[in-house]
């Protein structure tokens, strides 16, 4: 481990090894740029209406056309990147932290803690997850925070289960015994010796969940439980645009839909690459 190569060279190695990963990292970079610089590079104010120019098809002035209030769809799609990425990353981070903590404790100490936690996770899993998320948002009110909480809650069991299993099989492993004999505390062993081993499989889960979190938020919007208007958000744009497809204004739903798909696609493809990136065994 002492001759660990630099992160960047490892990144390059992983990307060379798997072209799909390379493409997905590039796509992620595009998304990040949109999220960070989006509001300053778009041609129009995403909230400004112009009813005299409502529902105009894609043109040189409006690449993705305009919506029923005459707002520029392209600007809205790009600006929404930041919000959608924030929702999914915040939700997944939250469930990652809570799920890992619960799973690690349960897996390491076992006993009644494990039993109780397992029943609680089973209970959450036994709910139809999307309906649970709907219920939480409906009960708490439809704000960005509540969408994040709802998405986080339904994701927690996946992380907790995964970490629990990974920790459980290693708690009696040789390197753990060695660390114990060296006088390390349980918490220290758990945090620095056992837990990192569960990261590679978690990475796949994280990247899948990032995509799923976006879809989840979009689904909530479709039901009408999404973020508040006039905020631009892909799910709402697709959901509202969907009503215009039959009447021929396909661009309202299509472009946000494609962009949404692009983002979810990126996250889903990135999974294996991220795993390779953090997997110690993959390092040369």
């Amino acid at each position: 481990m002492s001759s660990e190569p630099s992160f960047s060279s490892h990144l390059l190695y992983v990307m060379r090894e798997n072209p799909v990963t390379a493409i997905s990292f590039f796509m992620f970079a595009v998304l990040l740029i949109c999220a960070i610089f989006g509001p300053s590079i778009v041609p129009y104010d995403p909230l400004a209406s112009n009813t005299s120019n409502a529902l105009s098809p894609p043109s040189a002035a409006h690449w993705f056309g305009t919506d029923n209030l005459g707002r520029d769809v392209f600007s809205r799609v790009i600006v929404a990147t930041r919000l959608d990425l924030s929702i999914s990353i915040a939700a997944v981070a939250l469930s990652f932290v809570i799920g890992s903590f619960l799973g690690a404790c349960a897996g390491y100490w076992g006993g009644w803690l494990d039993a109780v936690l397992n029943r609680i996770l089973d209970t959450i899993m036994a709910f139809p997850l999307f309906v649970l998320a709907m219920g939480i948002v409906a009960a708490l009110g439809n704000t960005v925070e509540n969408i994040i909480y709802a998405t986080a809650v339904i994701n927690i069991p996946f992380y907790a289960r995964l970490v629990r299993a990974e920790v459980n099989i290693r708690r009696d492993a040789g390197f753990v015994q060695a660390a114990k004999l060296a006088g390390n505390s349980d918490v220290r062993i758990l945090a620095f010796h056992i837990f990192p081993n569960s990261l590679p499989p978690m990475m796949v889960q994280i990247s899948l969940n990032l995509g799923w979190a976006i879809l989840n938020a979009a689904g909530l919007s479709f039901i009408g439980l999404g973020v508040r208007p006039p905020t631009a958000e892909w799910g709402i744009m697709v959901a509202e645009g969907a009503n215009f497809v039959i009447s021929g204004e396909w661009w309202l739903a299509l472009f946000p839909g494609l962009w949404l798909m692009f983002a979810v696609f990126t996250f889903n493809l990135m999974g294996d690459g991220l795993r390779d990136l953090v997997d110690p065994r993959k390092r040369t």
Partner: protein, 536 residues
């Protein structure tokens, strides 16, 4: 109302005998034959009994199509050639004739009147049905009360064919209130057979099994999917309908409803979105009928319980800052009637609704805010209903944009339908919100009664004005040909124009699209009346 195949065949009777069936099963809906109409709507029927607690609005159509009332309104042709009910004419339905005395209304029933099961309609049935409407509570009791029909003691079956209502006051609202869907006449003999001690009004039975005398019978009801009407060939209360059966399908997605109509897979799409109505009118083969809804205004309501709106100048400032034309174009796609831009500050006639004397004038709005000491502006949530987001959301966004120009910063709150009524009408706690009241009985005083009297349900602005209280109570039961009526109504309109507790946006319209059907009749209750429909 579970129907298996055998029952279905039985119900279908001669029209769909077993011999025709094999062909029918593979025929596309568009070729369904000349006597079947297929209609779609977005909402769901949840009961076949209007009086039952929890029956939703779309279910009222069953009361209209399957039951009869003592009287009904007439029919007229509107300016643009559509068919509409006629508020000015009251016609016999179950009753043959009636007379009004000092303290009573006496109805003579048609001697030939028959329920679906062939038994005669008697005054006892009418008495039982009316007793039920005022006794079960909930909305039916409220609506009956609006016509001064409050307790069972008022109703008397004098003999088999004579029914008497004792009046507690003379009111112009009583007779028209007998023609709304609520006082439907139920076959009490059938109902009583299924009544129990816990359920003396047979709500469980009538909930799934109608017992009426109407132009149609219910052949099949699958909640959440469809309702099939079958013509009552022995209809006694009016002309027998032309079509043999009407299938009403529930399709939640408006886009799908539009596609179905355009492709001719259905004959009628009820309550179309305004946008579809606008774009499809004039399309070959389609007929779009748009009827302005009487006694109804889509309004923006500033709540007087919210400090900033206590000052009428602030409310006026809001009224001056709304981009009316854009709101009308985007929210209603031009379907309906403008309710802004009136030229005078006091009305010249008692037409209702009529244009409010406001238009878009941001400078004037700013001046008014300054006068009120509010030139710095303020923050206020603007609430809309999730269930009506289709038009409320674009409207709210446009209003939000303009209000920000006079320093009023709004955040848009979407409230789910279940919470909407509680928040806006019952608790009346939304500082600024959109509201859609429409009065069934077409009088201005009736509108004022619900919307401007303190504590009344639709007064979601918490408005109170002594003069309005007095004038509304005076005019509510007064005949409209009373010489005092018009001046008082004009004064009432003048006050609320000045004080604007409700800012009128536009008068909404009901749009119905037809492809292969004609003569849809518009009713104030805004539900699907299938009795007059014909195939093209």
């Amino acid at each position: 109302m579970k129907t298996n195949r055998r029952d279905f065949l039985k119900i279908s009777g001669g029209a769909l005998g077993a011999s025709v069936l094999p062909f029918l099963k593979v025929m596309p809906a568009s070729a369904a034959g000349n006597d079947v109409i297929v209609a779609v709507m977005g909402q769901s029927i949840n009961s076949l009994d209007l009086h039952r607690t929890g029956t939703n609005r779309p279910s009222y159509q069953v009361a209209v199509n399957v039951y009869d009332r003592l009287v009904s309104f007439g029919t007229k042709v509107t300016e643009d050639g559509g068919v509409s009910y006629d508020y000015s004419v009251i016609e016999p339905e179950i009753a043959e004739s009636w007379e009004e005395t000092e303290d009573a209304l006496i109805f003579k029933l048609k001697p030939e009147g028959k329920f679906h099961d062939g038994t005669p309609i008697t005054a006892a049935d009418v008495k039982w049905s009316f007793d039920r409407a005022v006794s079960l509570g909930g909305f039916p009791a409220v609506q009956m009360k609006a016509g001064s029909l409050e307790s069972p003691e008022q109703f008397e079956a004098v003999d088999d064919l004579t029914f008497k209502i004792k009046l507690i006051r003379a009111s112009k609202l009583t007779l028209p209130d007998l023609a709304v869907p609520i006082p439907m006449v139920i076959n009490s003999k059938v109902a009583l057979e299924h009544a129990t001690d816990d359920d003396p009004w047979a709500t469980e039975y009538l909930h799934t099994t109608p017992a009426g005398s109407g132009a149609f019978k219910v052949a099949k009801w699958s909640p959440g999917e469809q309702l099939v009407y079958e013509r009552n060939d022995d209809y006694t209360s009016g002309p027998v309908p032309e079509v043999k059966r009407v299938i009403v399908r529930e399709v939640p997605s408006p886009a799908t409803r539009r596609a179905l109509l355009e492709r001719g897979d259905v004959n009628l799409s009820f309550n179309m979105p305004n946008k579809d109505a606008k774009e499809l009118s004039g399309v070959d083969g389609l007929e779009i009928q748009t009827t302005p809804i009487e006694n109804s205004i889509y309004s923006l309501c500033p709540n007087l319980a919210f400090d900033a709106f206590k000052d009428k100048r602030v409310r006026q400032a809001i009224a001056w800052s709304i981009p009316y034309q854009e709101v009308f174009d985007t929210g209603a796609y031009g379907r309906g009637k403008p309710m802004w831009g009136g030229q005078e500050t006091s009305p010249s006639d008692i037409a209702w609704p009529q244009k409010f004397p406001y238009s878009t004038d941001l400078d004037r709005a700013k001046d008014l805010l300054k006068e009120a000491g509010m030139s710095a502006g303020f923050d206020v949530p603007l609430s809309i209903s999730l269930g009506q987001a289709e038009w409320m959301e674009p409207v709210a966004l446009l209003i939000q944009e303009n209000l920000s120009k006079i320093g009023v910063n709004t955040t848009i709150d979407k409230i789910p339908s279940a919470g909407w009524r509680t928040a806006s009408l019952v608790e009346k706690r939304l500082p600024l919100h959109l509201e859609t009241f429409g009065g069934w009985l077409n009088y201005p005083c009736y509108y004022f009664f619900w919307c401007f009297l303190e504590g009344h349900l639709f007064n979601s602005s918490n408005y109170r004005n002594e003069e309005i209280q007095t004038l509304t109570n005076e005019t509510l039961h007064m005949p409209i040909d009373d010489p005092d009526y018009a001046p008082k109504i004009k004064r009432m309109i003048e006050i609320i124009w000045d004080e604007v507790p409700r800012i009128a946006l536009w008068q909404p319209a009901l749009s119905v699209g037809m492809n292969g059907a004609k003569d849809f009749e518009y009713w104030f209750h805004r539900q699907l009346d299938v009795r007059n429909l014909k195939k093209v």
